[in-house]
Amino acid sequence: MSLQVRINPIACDAHGLCVELLPELFRLDDWGYPILDNAVVPDDLESLARVAADACPTLAIVIEETATIA
């Protein structure tokens, strides 16, 4: 299993906490909305990704466990 992150762009309100908490995964665009360059979360960042998802004020970060394709 590996973790995948999606941002719900309808819910996202550009609070920017995700970038503060996890700059390895998120960066901001010119209007303060997060860009996710790689949806797959590296193993060592999994717990931080869950923290970021819980911290998002609009709960716009969706974390999904996906079966790893061998």
Partner: protein, 429 residues
């Protein structure tokens, strides 16, 4: 035809065949005329329908180009299937094919919808139309009064607007919400109308399906190529003598599409393939291309909902694209930051480049935005707008230098849906 001969069927190898039953005066074909043209609708078992549709190679004609058989089976494999939704919104401003189909051959669309609905185990059929589609609504109502269908059919008219026809927006609207897209997945085939698995199909797709159910996959494949079987309805617009809807076989040279539409009214500079979400192809490219997915893909294009807009030499590709970019930015549903802010900024930036008033590095910034914004909306609206802008830069980019030096005097091409507002306000379509 003798009484013993099989029921009527259009010649599979000749055009028009989907549109073979159109009445000469364009009035809606009644049930008798419909059955004279296409024969009665057989009831066929679901598995056979899926098999015929799979072998026919039919793909969705609403723009997504998804294999229809796979979509049918994906819905049929689920429990508690809700509705089949005929998505007749047709919110692409230049497109007219679905309106034409529903207004002239309503029974064909309804045949396809009933057949698909029975096959996937749906309980009802809903036809979603845009509020301005008066003739289609009238024709469908009259057709429904003549039919004895097994599943109930309802007509729902709703908001126009570019994104209102997007499938999750249609589901939202039918559920009593605003006609704006949802965050997907779950997609409608998983959770759609009333939270049940829902099959959404374009009217043309269902009309084609109605013919495949009648005459089989081999009949369908008599026209077109192995890779792109069958025919497609195309809406020809722009600098052609007879703009309108034409049924064409896949594999036809694009030049012949222009000829079918009365020929160009002036030398052609470029063709916008696939509608306002589409891709510009120069005349030199267009002249060698066929109506095939491979030919179009080679030039970064796709048929989309079947719209081709010819731009004459007298018009300016940059200015027209800037107008379209502004239109598309304004059509954002206003839900997603990257779309709301990003498309607006891109349209502004592109207009500055086209007007020759951009700062140094503007083009690079525009291209960076394109790569950063793409894929970050809940629906594909930003992707489509970005495709148009990058394609315009790609094909007309060399002219930017001249625009920076001197004022461009080309008159507006009067593209459908972009006419200047008459009373100071654009009337919502």
């Amino acid at each position: 035809m003798s009484a013993a001969s099989p029921a009527a069927r259009p010649d599979g190898g000749r055009l028009p065949r989907l549109l073979a039953g159109i009445e000469p005066d364009g009035s809606p074909a009644g049930l008798l005329a419909h059955q004279r043209a296409y024969g009665p609708m057989p009831r066929i078992p679901a598995e056979r329908l899926f098999d015929e549709v799979a072998r026919s190679g039919l793909r969705g004609r609403g723009g997504a180009d998804f294999p229809t058989a796979r979509k049918l089976q994906a819905v049929a494999s689920r429990r508690n299937v809700g509705a089949v939704v005929v998505n007749g919104s047709e919110t692409e401003p230049a497109s007219r094919k679905d309106r034409l189909l529903m207004a002239t051959l309503p029974h064909l669309v309804l045949d396809g919808a009933q057949t698909a609905a029975e096959a996937v185990g749906a309980r009802e059929v809903i036809v979603k139309l845009s509020i301005d589609a008066l003739r289609p609504a009238d024709a469908l109502e009259r057709a429904l009064a003549e039919r004895t269908d097994r599943l109930p059919v309802s007509l729902v008219e709703g908001a126009a607007g570019y994104v209102a026809g997007e499938e999750s927006a249609v589901i939202n609207y039918l559920g009593g919400g605003p006609a704006i897209p949802r965050f997907v997945p779950p997609r409608p085939y998983e959770r759609g109308y009333r939270n049940r698995p829902t099959l959404l199909q374009n009217p043309e797709t269902l009309a084609q399906l109605a013919l495949i159910a009648r005459f089989g996959a081999s009949w369908f494949r008599e026209l077109g190529s192995d890779a792109d079987p069958g025919t497609a309805l195309t809406t020809m617009a722009g600098a052609v003598a007879e703009p309108g809807v034409y049924e064409m076989a896949f594999g036809t040279p694009l030049r012949d599409l222009l000829v079918a539409a009365g020929g160009p009214t002036e030398p052609i500079r470029a063709v916008l393939v696939g509608g306002y979400f589409g891709t510009w192809t120069t005349w030199a490219e267009t002249a060698t291309m066929r109506l095939s997915r491979a030919d179009l893909a080679e030039h970064g294009a796709a048929l989309g909902s079947g719209v081709l807009i010819a731009l004459g030499e007298s018009a300016c590709g940059l200015h027209e694209s800037a107008r379209l970019a502004r239109y598309l930015a304004d059509q954002s549903a206003g839900q997603c930051g990257p779309c709301v802010h990003g498309l607006n900024a891109m349209a502004e930036s592109f207009a500055a480049l086209v007007d020759g008033v951009a700062h140094r590095g503007e083009r690079d910034r525009l291209l960076r935005w394109a790569s950063e914004i793409r894929g970050r909306g809940a629906c594909h609206h930003p992707n489509g707008a970005i495709r148009l802008i990058t394609s315009a830069l790609d094909k007309f980019g060399p002219e930017l230098e001249r625009h920076a030096r001197e004022r461009c005097s080309a008159p507006p091409a009067d593209l459908p849906g972009l006419r200047p507002p008459a009373g100071g306000r654009r009337v919502p379509r």
